[in-house]
């Protein structure tokens, strides 16, 4: 199985944010909002770090 980096990132963020939201919040509405926040944060940080590393000679 070969997933693209972005797909793997999306799935990773989805699973982790779901578990985090269910563990840290008690009300369904809070869980949904926090889950979406964590999911989007994963994506935003990944994009930001990706662009920061882009000019580096790695």
């Amino acid at each position: 199985m070969i997933l693209s980096h972005f797909t793997a990132l999306l799935l990773f963020a989805l699973f982790v944010s779901t578990v985090f939201a269910l563990i840290t919040k008690n009300e369904p509405r809070e869980q949904f909002r926090y889950g979406v926040f964590v999911f989007l944060s994963f994506l935003a940080v990944a994009f930001a770090v990706g662009w920061i590393m882009y000019p580096l000679p790695l």
Partner: protein, 144 residues
Amino acid sequence: MEEVNNAEQSAPQSAPVELKRMNMTATLAICSSGWLVPGLAHVLIGRWIRGAIFASCVLLMFVLGLGMRGKLYDLEFDEPLHVFAFIADIGTGLFYWIAERLNLGLGTMTWPSYDYGTTYLWVSGLLNYLIVLDAFDIAQGRKP
């Protein structure tokens, strides 16, 4: 009439949730089962939906990790840092041992998604530790 209004205003917004506390032996037994089978602890406590979601998240991550040719680490003292990887991997409980017995999780370093797969395997185990701790808190009456 004013008294009724005052009573309504001073009433709490929602009824307080009654937190039940189990004895420590039952709690540890439930947590052990949750470690062996992800999500089972919450099912035993009566949180069916939460347990099913946890189980599917951990198992999907584990299966995807194996599918991406990730590596499951054994307990090797020659490489001390691998002990941490081993601790993360055994978080999935029985599924780690089943995968080991089936010779899965050998890891193909040349495979494009090897690193992602290995990370998926680590994180699925680590998430299950968090899930077990959540079940512990619920069983001890610390959270609803």
